[in-house]
Structure formats: C-alpha cells, structure tokens
Point group: D3
Chain length 248, copies 6
C-alpha cells in the first residue's frame, strides 16, 4: 500500500477547471492530488524572429513555482537574476511536448504562450503542467477556430503526461512528492492518446536500472497516460471533437 | 450609476479564503470583485543582515502578477532581468503597511515573508494585496503564538486598504480597472481599524486636485476602510481576538 | 527651535543655479540646505515604443545618488545589477510630477529625459529633485520654443515639492536628514503654483496619524510650496513668462 | 549507407587524449568524429552550502560551446546575461550522470567541478561530454587516491553515453549534426559498463514513436555504449583498475 | 595655434576645490578646462576577501559619467545591466595608479574607495580623475593620520596624469575633446613628482607611430606632469608635507 | 638565466596551427610556450548600428579564458553575470590592435568577429591572442578575397604583440606567468612589421620606472616583435602576399 493509500497503478484524484481566469484565451486550473497548477494559453499575433515570414506558428512555454508552493519558501528567480536550471528544463519540455502534436503551418503566424504557474507542489508538477496546458491550448485554439475556422484544424492529437518510478522495489504510477523524493528511479512519460511516446525522460541518479525495469515502468506509464487522456476528454467534452480531424 | 452597478461609496464584493494552500504558515485567497490575489505569509528563523543581533524581527513583502492576470500578457520580470518599477513600488508599500502595525521587538528575531501573487487583476491589486496579506500575517503569527505564546502578542492593530478616485467629476470608492484607467485622480489609502492613516498616496497625474476634493476623497476612503476591516474580522473570527491586546 | 535653528514653518536656504553644465538643454544645480542635486533635461527626437505615431511626447526621469552623497558610502546599483527600490520609486515620482503639468500633445513627438543626480544628500532629495528638475525642464522647453515656437506652449503650470512631518509632536516643514530619520510621520507634497495637489505621499510607518494631523500637515505643506514656487520664479525670471499661457 | 559512410550501428571514430592541459587534475580532449570537447575535472576542498558538514562530496558540471564551435557564430551567454536553456539542460545532465556512479560519501567533503567546453560541434556534444568527462573524473580521483588512498575508492562504475535516432525510417547510432537535424526521433542514452541505464531522454518532437521503435533504439544504444566504454577503458588502461573495486 | 588658443605644450586652466562635499573623508572637485570631475575618497574598515588577515590595505576606484556630462545623453550602465568597457578600463587604471604610490602595509587593513564621477566631459576625464583623486586620497589619509598617526605615513609619492597626442602632425599636450577626437595618436601618461612613469598607454588606432614620435610625446608629457603636480601641491599646501617622508 | 632557461631577449617556442577548427572563416591555435589560445575570425554580413549605411566595416573581439586554463579554476563570467574587468580590457585591446591595420572602408559593410579563447594560460595571453588573431583574420579576409576580390585588399600591415618587463633588475622579453607575477614593471607592445607602435601599455604598479628603463624595454620589445612577425609570415606563407599591397 502506498503512502496515500493508492494502488501502484493508480493516478491521483485529478480535476481540471476550465475558464479559471477571465483574460487568457485558455485558462485552466489542474489539480492532481495536492499538486495545483494554473495553466494559461495566450495568443499573440506574431512569431519569434527565427520564424518570421515562414507562414508558420510557434508555441512557447514558461513555468514557474510561486515562492510558497513548496514546503520551504523558494526565492524568486528575479531576486537571483537567474532562471533556475530545473525551471528552464521544465519549460523547454512543456514547449516541446505541445509543439509535437501541433500542425504549426496550419496555425499560421501566431505564437501561443503557455504559462504554467504552480500554486501548490506535491510531486509531478511538470507532467501536471503538460496535461493541464494541453487543455488550455485546446481552448485557445478553439477560440480562434470559432472566430474564423482554420483551413486545417491545427491540433493533431491529445498529449498527456505522467510519472512512474521505483520505490522500495515497487514500480508505482504518478508519484507524489514524498514518494518522488525517495524513489531510486524516476521517469516522466509524455504520450499521445494513441499511446505513442512524445518524450521519455528516465533518471536513475540514485541507482541505474535494467532493461526489464524499464519495460515494467513503460507498461505502467501507458496505463497512466490512458487515464489522464480520459480526464482531459471529460473536461473538454464536445470541445475536443476537432482534435485530429483537421477541423472538418 | 457606476460601470458595474455599484453606488459611489460601495466596495466590490469581497471574499477571503483562509488556508488556501497547504504549506505556508498563512495562506489566503482574497477576491475583491474580479481582482484575485494569493497572499502567503512564511516564517523564517533569521533576520536580514542589517538587523542581526538586535532582538527584533522583520516583515518583507514581494508582489508579482502572473503573466496572464491582465488583459494582454505581461512579460515576466526574469525575462527582462529587471523588476518592474511599479512592482517594486507596490511591494515596498505592502511591507511598510504591515510593519506599521507590528511590534517587531515582540516578534523577535524572525522574518515574515509576505508573497502577494496576483492571479487576476481588475484594479486595486495593491490595496487588495494589503488587505489579504494582513489576514495571512495574522494566521502565521497565531501559528507561532499557539505553539509558544509570545510575551507580547506582536500585532497591534488591523490594517486594511482601499482606493478612491475622481471619475467624471464623481468621487468613487474602490475603483475597478476600467474606472481606474479613466480616473483623473487616484488615491490609495491604508489605515487601521481605528481610522488612523498609515499611508496615503494620491496622484493627480491627469489633473491636479484641490484641498476640497482631497477632503471628500478621504471621507469616502474612511468609509471603505471600515468595510474592509469588517470583512477581515469576519474572515478571522476568533482568530483576531489577540490583535491589539498584547496577547493577554 | 529646530536642530538647525529654523522655525517649524520655514524652508531651508535654497539656491538654484541655471546653466550648471554646458551640454544639457536644461541644467540646474539646486541646493536646499545641504541637499545638492544636479538636474538636467535632455531632449531626444523620438518617443518610447508605446507612444510611437501618436503625435504625443513623453517625459521620463532617472534619479541617482553619487556613492558618497551620503554619510556612509552607498554601493552603486550597477555593482549589484539591481536598481534600488527607493531609487525606482523616486524616479517614477519625478516623472509623474513633471508630466502632470505638461501638455504632451503640444510637446509633440519628443522625449525629455530628466536626470537628477544627488551630489550631497541631507534629507528631501526627492522633493528637491522635483523642484530643480522643473527649472531644468523650463530651460529645455524654452530652448525649443526659441528655436521654433510651439503652436501651444507645453508647460501649463509650475510644479514644486516639499516635505512635512511630525517630530516630537511638532509639525515641521522641509525636514533635513536628521529630522527625517526621527520623524514619526513623513509626507511629501507635490503641488502647482495655484496650490493644487499633484501628488501626496504620507507615511506613518512608525505610527499612524489622524485626520487632524493630516490637515495640519497639509496647511504647512501649502505654505512651503508657495515659498518654493517663489524661488523657482526668481531663478527663471522672464523665462517663466510663457508658463500657463499657451505661449501667446 | 549513412551520410559519412558508416553502418547504422557504427559509432564515429573516437579518440580520447588524456592530460590535454596542464593545470586541471583531470584534463581530456575527446573527439567523436568532428565533435571535439575539452573536459576537465577540478578538485575543490569544500562543498556547496546545502551539503556543508554532512561528510559528503559533490560533482557539478558546466558545459559551454565556444562561439565558433558551430556553423554560425553563437553569441556568448555573458553578452545576453542569460545561460542558454539548452546549455543549462546539458550541464545538469552531465552532473547527474557522473554523480550516479560516484560514492559521494567515500569522496568526502570535496567538490569536483567538471567543465566541458565544446571546441567543435558536429552532433552529440552532450553524450561526448559525458564520455570524456568520465575519463577526466577518473584521472582527478586517481590523483587524490595516489596522494592519499581513499578508504573506499569512490567511483563505482563506468559511465558512457551515446545517441540513437530514426532518420528516413532507419534506426541509426551516434548521429552526426546533419543526421540529428533531420531525424524525427532523437534519443540520448547514458549507461554503465554493465549495460544498466542511468538516464534515457527520448524526444519525438517531429513525430511520436511507438513502443517497438523504442525497443529497437534501445538495442542499438546498448551496442553503442559497449563500444564507448571499451574506448574509455583503452584510454585509461591500468588507471581504470580501481573502478568498482572500492579501491582494494 | 590650438583650437582653444593654447600653445602645444600648455595644459588647460586647472582648478582643484577641496572639501567639495561634506561626508567623504576626501572630496575634491577638479576642473581641467571644461572637464569637471568630483573625486571622493571613502575609508572602510575592512579589506576585500583576497586580502583578509594579511595586515595590508587596498585602494579601489570606480568611475562614472553622469548621463549628460557629454554632448549626447549616455544611457546609464544600470539600464543596460552592463558596465561600459571603457568605464571598466578607466576605473582599473585609476586604482592601479593610486596603489602604485601607496605603502599598503603601512595603511593597514583598510580599504579606500575612490569615486570619480564626471559632471562634464571635455577630454582627458581619466587623467583628470587621477590627478583629482590623488588630492582626495591625501585628504582622506591625512584625516586618519591626524586622528591617530600611522607608524609609517603611507603615501610615498605624488601621482599625476596628463595626455599627449599627435594632431595634424603637431604634438600637443592635454587634449580637449575636439582635439582628442581628431588626433591620430593618443597617449595617457601617469607619473610621479620625480618624473618616473607609473603607467603609459599610447594608442595609434588611426595610425601607428614611430619611436621618434614616442620620444617627443614623452618629453611633452613630462612637462605636463610637472605642471599638474605643481597644481596639486598648491591645492594641498601644508597638507602635502608628509608625502614621501614616512610621516616623521 | 631565466626560469625556463631562456636568454633575456628570447621569445618562447611559438607554434601557429591554421585551420584548427572547421567552421570559422579563420581558425588558429597559437602556442607561445605553454600559453595556448584558439583564435577564430568569423564574418558577418552586417555592421553594428553606429556604422549602418556608412559603407564601412568593423572588427570586434571577444576574449575568454576556459575555467581551468589557469592554476586555480576561474568562475565563468556568466555565473557572476559580469564580465571580468581584465577580460573587458583585453578584448578592447585586441579589437583596437586589429582595426589599426585594416582599411575598414575597403572591407565594406561586414563585421569580423574575433574570438580568442584561452585553453591554457602561462603568461602573455593578451599578446599571444593578438599575434594569433591576426593570422585568423588574414585567413578570413583571404577567404572573402578568393571568392570575390576586394577592390582594395583591406589588410595594410602585419600586427604582432609581445611583452617585456623588469624582473630582478633584468630586462626580459616575453614573460611567462611566473616571471610576470614577480616583475616590477610589465609592458605590452603591439607593433607592425615595420616596427611602428600600435599600442604601448606599460605599468609599474609595483614600482615606477625611468625614461632609461623604458628605452631599454622598447629596444627589447622591438626585437621580440620582429621574431613574432617572422613566425606569422612562416605560418601564412604565400597567403600573406597581399598584405599591404592593396591586393594588386
């Protein structure tokens, strides 16, 4: 039995609240257990310099933790004039994950800014951010699509994320902070609703892991991804119908 | 009649949720109309260098707006490597306001970090932050007091804040964003539950104002402060009993 | 009797030297007691991005203290890579004060940079900066007006500033550093030559103050403003004639 | 046949030059095809604050590319006052990889600084850095061990890294830059000499990949790791004998 | 005849005002023609980390130009978050020049901070800064010496600086800005009252110069240094008597 | 006899390897004794803002030391967010030296970026950088000239650099680190192949030096420059033929 009574292959109670704040084109509060993240998607009518004039859009992500989202207060990056290395790593991951399911040509010369601000952190903030940000992205894209339909609807697939790990020789799904801090292997999996991998990041900093361990973890992760996609679909309901259809 | 149907001397619907996040010693979500701010109070067992060894505590505040708390996305300070001037001004104001009602000797060698993170901005974020942060501060101080009673309970008074302004020749209380952006005079008032002023900041950037205007605005502000203190008291209930008593 | 022998309602000996340095369009050394500030006004033929193409000008201010303008050496901002919060607050205040008496449409697409560099600080550097910067601004604007008359002369009023405070239960005008550091209430007043308020900033960090105290302080401040405007007029003499006339 | 004539499962010609510069405790030039990295290991007799007094050591890594290590000149981080996100990600990866095979307790209160400076980049700079840095680390640790033998020799295993990817439906090992820039899946594998995984990072930004693809890529990667470890062993010869023995 | 009517071997009218501001231990306004610099010397009772516990003092210098000390407004370093390269070069030069005539052992564990803030720049600001800073340094050291005599008086020699250059084939002394901007060779000379060189910096960016040219320029410079030292001596009068005597 | 067995007027063994890395238009490894610097020249088809539209080119230089190029590890500038003052000084010097022999009009609207990255530092890194960078510059310019001949070949002269100093009353040429750290006078000389001076920087921080000392040092330096130019010529061989001819 796990710390919080879950089974090894069970994700935490997850809740997605759409329209959480009023200004952003997409705005979601996602709660996975005690991990809570505000994810917004903002549309800007221009692209970064390296894409100018290529008829293609861009998605970029920023991630941040409120100072007291954690057990001890975290100094704000601006006080140190440096972005935290972990923050940098995570926001690059979120950006890659969302771009992987987008048809950026179909989006056209727009940038979608994803902001994931962690209000409360209890493990899995990066995977939670991706799962929530995808829903905010759908809302923002649909807002555009309803105003003026895209020739090709630019979201091709669902993308969802979860974590798996090895703790006390048990392979477990969706680690909370206490589990994560003791796990000897820790893996984040980002995948589509069809079960294909978008990104796999597995670390055995404490102890290397075998090919067999890896296989078991991937089985577990795919189970988790299925559950998370299901939750996204329920949150989006009819608003997810265009995904993967090209908008027809 | 005002934009949102209020009377000139009416504050917006205000809601204070205590215990909003689980780690901070004090954690409050304050909503004043559509303005929403998470205020946390975190206790640290040391003081800044300039106070070391003087047996006195400190309160410092940081303020920040989430990028999409506003109508157009605001670039994060860390991306520009500079704290926004307005942000700096506001966080200094919050710190001064809270310190003014504290007996820092009684607090002892501790720092209380106040974090005000604006989730949604619709005018009055600085006054809302002060009103909410005070409640978070009380919760944090009471947590200490319950663990080990202070010799002298360090909070001496309530502190609350509101805004007043002149719009279309009308003097109005608690301006929302749309009112604020058109007002020719804009004033923030921070005061105690006894109606004494802690800080007055009035600006007539668009047009200077007379002594009579000032008097009218102060009347209105004092009315508003009374209402805000009342809301704080209701939120805190029994937990506000020690304030001003020295803890006996 | 005050520390330096002044009466409660007396400002310090004030001297304004115009044309203090040779390059700036307006350049003033202002001395208020031992507080000495070099104020320059520089004209640039473009406006910040947010004003581009709107046919309107801008005034922006920067404030800085020389490292040894104070009793102990102040580390330069560049060494810490951060602008001091107090500096930020003051330079924003100076900018707002000067803009409030300007017709920015009449100025046209120009930026006037105000630089206030404190050579010696003995209290009241922010109010001294405003009083001196106004004179530098007039010189710079007149330089333009003499080269090519404005359709509407863009300076509408005089603006001047002073401080008041409560020290040992006495209400006093124009505090020097020693008074300021002990005062329980401290207020900066910026006003026009007609006695209207442009900005009021009153702080009772040490102890809240009543409505009656406020009224007394405002009476005193208005007396001080009158004296400061008089000194500005004497310094500018004939060069102040256009102010408020629209240049006809 | 691949761009450079290699077979799909063939790594590039690899050369490790030890003692490349004279000051560092370990100093290696590693060349994998046209990718060239200087890796140094520097010993410092203290640990970072978070480890102080715990009797444990630390390994930290920094990675950088010379401006003209790439086809177009890369602006130095210091000119932008920001560490490149990719750089941050890579240096964190190198640090984790090396720490994973170290007994930090056995090392004692020392920090080993790993510096990987890329002289010429032709794909795989992060995996090349890890492979080379491990050799520099061994040299630095052996220098300490020869001066004063450790109770327990702190390096437990070899660590080596390589990349695999899918290009034109072919699965290939050790991608050069041209292959990497066109590959639809790109994976970096860090593993021990026993074939256990330390870190897996696979990205299908261009296109998600299946569980079968993943398995094929892992087979290929394990082949590559074996070759890289062999090259490390040949470079180190007798100097690798202590690894994994505890130093007896 | 030169632009300003001087002879080729003539320095500009120079004026040194001691005690220019009231807080610094040494405070000088130096005017060399239209170049005006405030030089202060501030004493701090500790040394930088690299000197701690060695019984030796330190002198460090900072140099800055007020934004409007020049013909067009210079953006403040803090706005760009970078110290200007030229500024860095100059402040290092001032520090080296003053340390070269100091007995830092005799000074003891103190740091003297030299601040040179240029109010108006008309060529030769670096040499003017050195000449003026030396006088401020003497005043600061004498203040210490009068309070508590040094065992050995720590200033060993006078140090003074001037510039020379080649303009229109003429070799000229003490270049003003207009001359400097057109000169093909430009040299700064720092020397003692005994005519020995402390630093020579000669640049022929526009055109290389011969050994003969160099000799002529050095002759001219030595003439100029003599004049500058004389002016320093007149400014210091009796207060320069200890220099070079060890204080007996 | 000197530390490393050289005669007083002997430069260290020097080796210049052209084409050291494959991407840069000019790429040189220069070794002067144990000092090793990678110098690259990169061509960019635009000029800095201050030169736009003037039909003139620019050369700019950056200098950096790898962290472990020195005896103790040097913290990277980016970790401190500040360029080292010495680094700034050196890179400005390199830029000036190379520009002094270039016909920037003839170059046309291009920027040549010189990067000098020190791999191993054993004294004289700035002079070594200049000597090596010149060769990289020639290679880059010749690459352009071979693609499309310049109307006027833009390199007018050779430029080379060396150091001289006084150690134990001996005047010596080309100081290694150990000599440099003990020398009482230290001078860097940059000159053309015709023996004309481009820049002279002599410092007697430890002790002032006489005119006679200076003359002896310049004699020695001119001997050294001759040797360094000879080495450049041998490295460049036929590729140096255009220099100073205007390309005909």
């Amino acid at each position: 039995m796990r710390i919080d009574g879950r089974k090894n292959d069970q994700v935490r109670a997850t809740k997605i609240t759409r329209g959480y704040t009023k200004y952003a084109e997409g705005s979601v509060l996602i709660e996975v257990g005690d991990t809570k993240v505000i994810c917004t998607a903002s549309i800007e009518d221009k692209v970064p310099p390296f894409l100018k004039g290529q008829g293609e859009g861009w998605i970029t992500a920023e991630y941040n933790m409120l100072p007291r989202s954690t057990g001890t207060r975290k100094v704000r990056d601006i006080s140190r004039l440096k972005i935290d290395g972990r923050t940098m790593e995570i926001q690059r991951l979120i950006g890659r994950a969302l771009r992987s399911v987008m048809d950026l040509k179909a989006l056209g010369e727009k940038t979608i800014w994803i902001d994931c601000d962690v209000i409360q952190a209890d493990g899995g903030t990066r995977t939670t951010s991706i799962t929530g940000a995808f829903v905010a992205l759908v809302d923002a894209v649909n807002k555009l699509h309803k105003e003026k339909p895209f020739d090709v609807y630019p979201i091709r697939k669902f993308v969802s994320a979860t974590s798996v790990g090895i703790l006390n020789e048990e392979k477990i799904l969706d680690l909370c902070y206490e589990e994560d801090s003791k796990a000897k292997v820790d893996m984040n999996i980002i995948a589509t609703d069809e079960g294909e991998f978008i990104e796999i990041q597995g670390t055995g900093e404490e102890s290397p892991f075998s090919r067999n361990d890896l296989n078991d973890l991937l089985d577990l992760a795919q189970k988790g991804i299925k559950q998370m996609v299901q939750i996204q679909k329920e949150a989006l309901k009819m608003d997810s119908l265009w995904i993967g259809t090209g908008g027809k």
